[in-house]
Symmetry: D2
Subunit: 291 residues, 4 copies
């Protein structure tokens, strides 16, 4: 793999111990002579003498974005990185994430990665288009249709490639990428999608029809959610739990693959299944299963 | 689409009303001047004066195989058709199947299909290799590892592309194609895979670890089930519920895509989701959901 | 069974066709010489010449409350009836409910019930006590802890009879009676509890621990939900989806059986399981199951 | 609590380390002057000089039965103890069970229990009656209707108190006590029933109707499984996974509470929920949940 020449670093407000790790990375990179910058959004946490670059220009100066924090921080960083074609490396804060697999004290690991010894993988993204919002609403994990506030029931129908899939009354609908299949969709009973599958999953939330099941469709599908005009209360669409776009009755939400992917960088010995085993408490030895 | 020039017809012992439909097809085809034969395995049900061809030679004489019966009959026919590159069309016996979508009295539909007005789709297949069995064990629906007889618990581990996925104690393991995702795997809590997804799903049966979940992986994966030497009783592998191949402790089962696909023929207005709605009792109108 | 001597009638704003049914009941009861009144809250829908009584005094003048509408209307009426020891009879508006089993045109059925030919059953109720709310918060279906508005994750622990059951991060928690087990809790994966079981069920909503399962405990248990001080956003407790009581971090919610029960009246040939079969699309004939 | 005066001890062939623990218990009891015997079925594992009593007479000579092994061994012992009104105490072999909560090296715990410092609880039992079997078929965990050997699908209907609950095509049916709700039924998606609930649960196995759900009914219900005459292959009924009683088409299985209960003895600080947390990997601290 090719080496990384210039590193951007960011974190997020509220990440415990972030400042400490940013400082350690700064010192380490100075020590090793590695060119690096801090994202402006993280400048509060950055060491005083560090170079700072606006988030939107990171891609011009850096060829790797290191994020310090949990999966939420990585998702946040990914949204900044996507259109700058910046690969992202997650350094967790002491607890393994689904996406952040480097322990903050493994500075050697980071050295190896920068030197070109790493695993790189691309994760597919979704985009939604809704009336009145000009830019695509991008998601690395999921797009979620849900009530905007207090009401519970959402009435909608879904077409896939212009064919009716189903009409539902439910608490909402999760449309998840493989990356998002181990996030909110998993709590809702969705299947795990291996990152390599070119597929997405639709998981109705608390559906009123007992025969509803999660469905997995090609990521190249065109999905349209038609929100029923008879919805009693305002709804919204959320992308990766970041923003909530108001949706009103009778609106249509068009969902399809976003043309770009996000590139995630892992240590060379990265193993997706091992990560699942750790995060989901799966056994490697059948003799120790719980029941 | 290209026309079909010569039709092979088959059914299966025990299909109620099969003889009647075979007779009607024969009369109809004679009437229309359509070249047709009966598969030798169905010769008992065929009209007396009909031409009969050995099952293994159907592909040499026909370019379409019409199967009369339910999904089980179609699966059975598919196993005959796969290596003869014969597309298959299912005529149900009065009750819609997941795979057999033509009503036996819709002879007009069949005329249209033969005349080239149809939908054609390819369904992926799986194959298993086990020690001592020379030929690949092919599945259109699923491969199921389970106890061979009375015992219940099966101990095994699974690797995907040589990486450990998990070790399990369970009643067994279902590995299903998209076609099989609406069959046995669905009863076991697996997701529905749209036929177009290039994916398969692994569904542990009654797993002893509560955090087990169905996983969807690329159909291009190499899956190995390593049956633990500590299994107390004999196991077996079943393909589409057809045969049971004995599996003993410490054996490895290699599972991957079968190089060929099976081609299914449907009426021109075929709609997969509409079929799901009918078969799974899904509502097309949210107002009528059950709860 | 003893006859009913005086009937109170109510419905709810928004119930389609309610006025028509109230008028029909009024005419029918006059015709038969049955003493009857309308609840003041439904006076808008009542015939002009009908007698009207304040909702809180219904029990003094009537020994049966007839509710016209769906399950929501019956739940609403039950909350009025509970402390007046009034039994409740549900007349649906053309579509069977879990709780409202008389079709509006079956006036003969109603005559028979009034004449003493009916089935009577008592359903248990729950109550919650929260700081700052003096009266018990009563539920016939369920008590639901959830975010009050937009946030998703709720952090809480639960004790049963002063022993820790579990700590959870989830979208919320449903505590349902047997009556509520076929309502919201069922959409969330909870089991069905036969009305006669002296039990309640706790169903975590979208739990972050995959090994979470619904648990059924004695209805005589003392349940305390301890809402974590670390909840990022305001929460609330809802009873039967009626009101939302704000809950703040570090508060404790005490839940136990309400001392009284509600009495539901059904036709003499009422059959709980038959109702389940109809509502949940269960088959009475195994040959017709869907897969 | 009253003291125990005479202790019966048993284990089961195949329990690893059983002999060692039996020997340790023997030495310890001699040391403390505690009257004790070994069950004849375990005489192979018992110390040479120990007293041995036939399994069926244990209740005449002992007032407590100590079982060394896992949950399976305790279930086995319970079947011997039930009709002798003998309470049972489980000593696991180093790994906590759902029912066996004393570690083999906690001899002090056992002393305390014998001295009268313990928790005692009664667990309800089920019994099945089938044609041709004179004695009731007793279950502490569950009764399971399933294929007897290779076939998969079972066709049956179930009545509760003579009312049809449902007709099913499925892999089988589990009827579990609260004790059994954390055993096989839990793998099949059933709810956990707190031991104090006077309830049982019916869990269809791989049901062909997607709207099937586990149902919880009063333990005082009369359940009848009517096995359809159209079952293609022989079936059986299993109790606690112990024996398999052949069931043929058109037979009826009557299931109800067994009049007696089994008494389980635990250390004084026994906590059912703590055991669940350990066995099911539940978190006591929400911050550490897995997702």
């Amino acid at each position: 793999m090719s080496k990384f020449k210039s590193i951007a670093i960011m974190s997020r407000a509220g990440v415990q111990g972030a400042e400490e790790t940013l400082t350690a990375l700064h010192a380490h990179f100075i020590n090793r002579g590695v060119t690096h910058f801090f994202a402006e959004s993280s400048s509060d946490m950055a060491p005083e003498n560090a170079d700072v670059i606006p988030d939107k220009s990171l891609g011009k100066h850096a060829d790797l974005l290191i994020v310090v924090g949990g999966d939420g921080s990585l998702i946040n960083a990914a949204h900044i990185a996507i259109d700058q074609s910046l690969p992202v490396l997650g350094v967790n804060r002491g607890r393994l994430g689904f996406l952040t697999d480097i322990h903050p004290q493994e500075l050697d690991s980071i050295d190896a990665i920068i030197a070109g010894d790493y695993t790189s993988e691309e994760r597919l993204l979704l985009q939604a288009e809704i009336p009145g919002v000009d830019e695509p609403i991008i998601a690395l994990n999921d797009l979620v249709l849900m009530p905007d506030g207090l009401s519970q029931m959402v009435i909608f129908s879904v077409t896939v490639n212009d064919q009716l899939l189903y009409a539902q009354r439910a608490d909402g609908l999760i449309i998840a990428t493989p990356t998002g299949s181990t996030a909110y969709a998993l709590s809702g009973g969705g299947p795990i999608l291996q990152p390599q599958t070119n597929a997405i999953t639709l998981v109705p939330m608390f559906p009123h029809t007992l025969s509803s099941r999660p469905i997995v469709i090609s990521a190249d599908s065109k999905v349209v959610i038609h929100v029923s005009p008879s919805n009693p209360k305002p709804l919204c669409l959320s992308n990766d739990g970041r923003a909530r776009y108001p949706i009103s009755g009778d609106q249509k939400i068009l969902i399809k693959r976003y043309p770009a992917k996000i590139r995630l960088i892992h240590p060379a010995d990265y193993n997706y299944y091992q990560m699942l085993q750790t995060k989901l408490n799966w056994e490697k030895h059948a003799e120790r299963t719980h029941l």
